[in-house]
């Protein structure tokens, strides 16, 4: 994004929106992480029972679980890197939205990478397709126990969540609908490779009464009935409004979006075009009105300041500390977002991250020798020492990163010295900069132009204002 900034400032809103959609038009590459060892073990096995029959030793099973968890970490970092490096920003951002909407915790790497692929492929496509594919994904079927949903022994977990969280939202269905819906989903299962399996002998073929309709419904019928409900379009539109526009809902705008979304038969791209083409999207009250999610924060820093990270795994710890570890949502409802991201400890850690990255980068390279600046610089110089202390608690972690500053610095070539702080703030922050320049200058490297740009950028990223988008 950093390199597009200059163009963004001159282009019209419509052109920018078009460019954003165009960049996200191509179908994404499948992120295939699953380790060959795992593939060998599960090759040709379509059932847990058969896997047990194959007679894996305890060690092999343990190794398999461990490998799978390791692979999920790799999948996390691979997707994070994709978010950082891709031109298809909108697609990945929408995917992040759906990743929380269709939240699934699962220790099977196949299931996770297949669900992610489904989400990324359909992120800007059709919500009906996305809902159907997710509902038939091994990740969701297993997470919500539909493999155990059998005729005479219904398991309601899937049927409940599909209504509460994926389509209608609470209060728009009855407990009876949950029970009847669960009967319709009986027999929906998945095998070890993650393929959908319909087990017809486990399916309940009796009539079901679901949302005012009666018939021998199966899972597809129930999904279709849910998609017919206008409430489903409203529910999704509201959630997307929250994610892209403002946590504070404007009911009339959401109703308009929901209506259009339903009319378009759930065309997600059209919904997003509606949002980006609206004047209200660019109103001041809707800019910087959202608190970035931890992943948005991390990705945003890395897009603005491209960097090589020596110990990438540390980003998993950062995600965890900030309350959003990809592939590990708190529950099926996903991450609640908004002010929920912020409490004492998460806020303070957010504020420290840019400094932590910068300090480890600069620690040996820029010894301070000018006492005149010591009172300001010292604060930043103290950083690494405390970071080490901080790191000890988390197993001695530091973010060992080399920032590539060249492109970023070039943006300021034509900026006069006295305008530098303002210019940096206008690029870094979405909202009005609240840090007075004389305060800022106490904590920046004022010995050179370059040093000032770098340190002022980092310090302005270490503010409450930077948490907003």
């Amino acid at each position: 994004m950093a390199e597009d900034l200059d163009q963004l400032q001159t282009a019209s809103q419509k052109n920018v929106a078009n460019a954003i959609f165009k960049a996200s038009a191509r179908s994404p590459q499948y992120i295939d992480i699953a380790n060959d060892y795992l593939k060998g073990l599960t090759m040709g096995i379509d059932d847990v029972v058969k896997l047990q029959k194959k007679g894996l030793s305890q060690d092999e099973k343990k190794q398999m679980r461990k490998q799978s968890q390791e692979d999920i970490k790799s999948l996390n970092l691979a997707w994070l890197n994709e978010m950082v490096n891709t031109d298809a920003q909108l697609r990945e951002k929408m995917s992040l939205f759906w990743h929380s909407h269709f939240a699934s915790r699962n220790l099977n790497i196949y299931y996770q990478q297949l669900l992610l692929d489904t989400i990324r492929k359909n992120a800007l496509g059709n919500f009906a397709d996305l809902l159907r594919e997710v509902s038939k994904s091994a990740a969701m079927i297993n997470f919500l126990n539909n493999n155990q949903n059998r005729k005479d022994h219904p398991n309601e977990n899937f049927a409940r969540e599909v209504m509460e969280l994926f389509t209608l939202g609470r209060g728009n269905y009855s407990e009876e609908d949950v029970k009847e819906g669960a009967r319709a989903f009986t027999g929906w299962g998945a095998n070890l490779q993650g393929d959908f399996v319909f087990r017809k002998f486990q399916h309940d073929n009796g009539d079901k009464n679901f949302l005012g309709k009666t018939g021998n419904f199966d899972g597809d019928d129930v999904l279709n009935i849910l998609l017919e409900q206008k409430q489903t379009a409203n529910f999704i539109a509201k959630k997307i409004y929250r994610f892209f526009v403002n946590d504070d809902i404007d009911d009339s705008k959401v109703a308009w979006l929901g209506n259009r979304f339903h009319q378009s038969n759930y065309d997600i791209r059209a919904l997003m075009e509606d949002i980006f083409a609206s004047d209200w999207f660019y109103e001041e009250k809707n800019i910087g009105a959202r608190i970035k999610s931890p992943v948005e924060l991390i990705v945003g820093i890395r897009r603005m300041l491209p960097m090589d990270i020596e110990n990438e795994d540390v980003l998993l710890i950062v995600q965890r500390l900030l309350g959003q570890l990809l592939f590990y949502p708190p529950n099926v409802a996903g991450w609640p977002g908004g002010a929920n991201w912020i409490d004492s400890s998460t806020l303070m850690f957010r504020l420290r991250i840019p400094q932590i990255i910068y300090a480890s980068d600069q620690f040996d390279l820029q010894p301070k020798e000018d006492d005149d600046q010591a009172m300001g610089i010292k604060e930043m110089n103290d950083g690494p020492m405390r970071i080490k202390g901080f790191g000890k608690i988390n197993g001695g972690q530091m973010i060992k990163a080399q920032i590539s500053w060249d492109k970023y610095l070039k943006k300021f070539d034509d900026v006069q010295k006295e305008n530098l702080a303002n210019e940096i703030a206008s690029i870094i922050l979405q909202v009005q900069n609240g840090v007075a320049e004389n305060t800022l200058r106490k904590f920046t490297d004022n010995s050179s132009r370059e040093g000032f740009i770098k340190s002022a950028t980092i310090q302005l990223m270490s503010t409450p204002e930077y948490q907003l988008c």
Binding site: Q148, M348, E379, G434, T439, S462, T463, E465
Partner: protein, 399 residues
């Protein structure tokens, strides 16, 4: 009073930075910060919906064994409390507390029109809302709102976690989430943050940026205070090296300090045992049992067991019948444990659930959990329960 407290805190933190707290200050601060009989509540959330029937087991009930042919825990394997009641085999420390008169068990706790969604039912328990009502504040958060107006250090309620639960979020005041006092201190102690915080022109709007600056200012003032307190009297007792063991160790160290924290909140999970319940519940109960054992013993040897009450809850119990996958599905009413040296009622406080009188295979609740909250708020924490819960609930007699 407020001014005195501010002066004291300033003096206290100055002294603390000089590494050792002078003895005269310690002596001065005790009566100020920890009034005799200061009551502390520790809430232990069993996340995921713990299976209450395999926790406090109706070992004298044939129906239990009939509907749980595989999952039912045999009487001889349970830890017998009475002829009709046994505890889960892993809960040996709780059995000892029962014999000691330091354990209270509340049965069939729930609420009308129970919700079987984790998310929603946890919301209901954490906010103390009705089943059809929605609230954005937690019951302990509203306790903070009521108790702590004018507090410059909102340390009255603390969650030992990286993320703060809704339970501790009030309208105006939020509890503090911290996994470790040193971590919070290390991430906040910096002059740059102090300066930009001081320089912020608060427009007193509802804008997110003002909210962020407010949280920042409160954190800066609290972090140092908590950290210094945590170093005053760190517990020397041995705790298990488990998640909950470490959390209760942190809580003990703070209880033994002079901090003004009245409520601690900690979670253990996941108890969502749809599949393979036996192994999962046993593992979690072993962790809980060993951690609580160490905690109680530590409190006793520091003469604080009378003043501390640990209370467990879960968002719901589970179905009375086992399911086809070696587990149980989401149910309704559940039991709660109360652990303290200061209980007025002990042992089985009310009747075991009636398995003859079910609602479509689920337990009927007999006791609204909001009555338990009202009792704790009013009788233990000395707060206005009606104001906090929005209406009057009958008080129980266990404290």
């Amino acid at each position: 009073m407020l001014i005195k407290r501010r002066q004291f805190l300033q003096a206290g933190s100055l002294a603390a930075t000089s590494f050792m707290l002078p003895k005269f200050l310690k002596a001065f601060e005790k009566p100020m910060m920890v009034p005799q009989g200061n009551k502390v509540l520790v809430v232990l959330q069993l996340s995921g919906g713990n299976d209450g029937l395999n926790t406090v087991i109706p070992v004298g009930n044939d129906i239990y064994y009939r509907v749980r042919p595989h999952l039912g825990i045999e009487k001889v394997k349970s830890l017998i409390l009475t002829e009709a009641v046994g505890l889960h085999p892993s809960l040996t420390a709780l059995r000892d507390l029962y014999n000691d008169g330091s354990l209270g068990i509340l049965n069939s706790v729930g609420y009308p029109n129970p919700d079987r969604s984790h998310f929603r039912s946890m919301d209901i328990w954490q906010t103390a809302s009705e089943s059809n009502g929605f609230m954005s504040t937690g019951w302990l958060g509203r306790y903070l709102d009521a108790q702590c107006s004018g507090c410059d250090k909102p340390t009255q309620a603390m969650e030992i976690d990286d993320i703060l639960s809704l339970a501790l979020k009030g309208e105006r005041i939020k509890g503090l989430a911290l996994k470790d006092p040193a971590r919070l201190y290390n991430t906040s102690h910096q002059k740059y943050f102090k300066d930009i915080s001081a320089g912020h022109q608060d427009e007193h709007t509802e804008k997110p940026v003002d909210y962020l600056y407010k949280v920042m200012a409160e954190t800066l003032s609290s972090a140092e205070y908590i950290y210094q307190q945590s170093k005053l009297h760190p517990t020397s007792a041995q705790y298990p090296k488990t998640g909950l063991g470490k959390d209760l160790q942190t809580i003990a160290s703070l209880i033994f300090s002079d901090i003004n924290t009245k409520v601690y909140y900690v979670s253990l999970g996941s108890f969502d045992t749809h599949v393979n319940q036996q192994a999962q519940q046993q593992r979690l109960f072993t962790e809980m049992n060993d951690a609580v054992k160490a905690f109680v013993s530590d409190l006793k040897s520091n003469n604080r067991f009378q003043d501390v009450m640990l209370m467990t809850f879960s968002e719901f119990g589970r179905r009375v019948s086992q399911n086809a996958s070696g587990g149980t599905d989401h149910g309704t009413a559940n039991n709660m444990f109360l652990v303290s040296g200061g209980l007025k009622q002990k042992g089985m406080i009310d009747a075991m659930p009636d398995l003859n009188d079910l609602n479509e295979g689920d337990l009927k609740y007999q006791l609204d959990f909001k009555s338990v909250y009202a009792t704790v708020l009013n009788k233990w924490l000395g707060a206005d329960d009606k104001k906090i819960l929005g209406k009057s609930f009958s008080h129980l007699d266990f404290i």
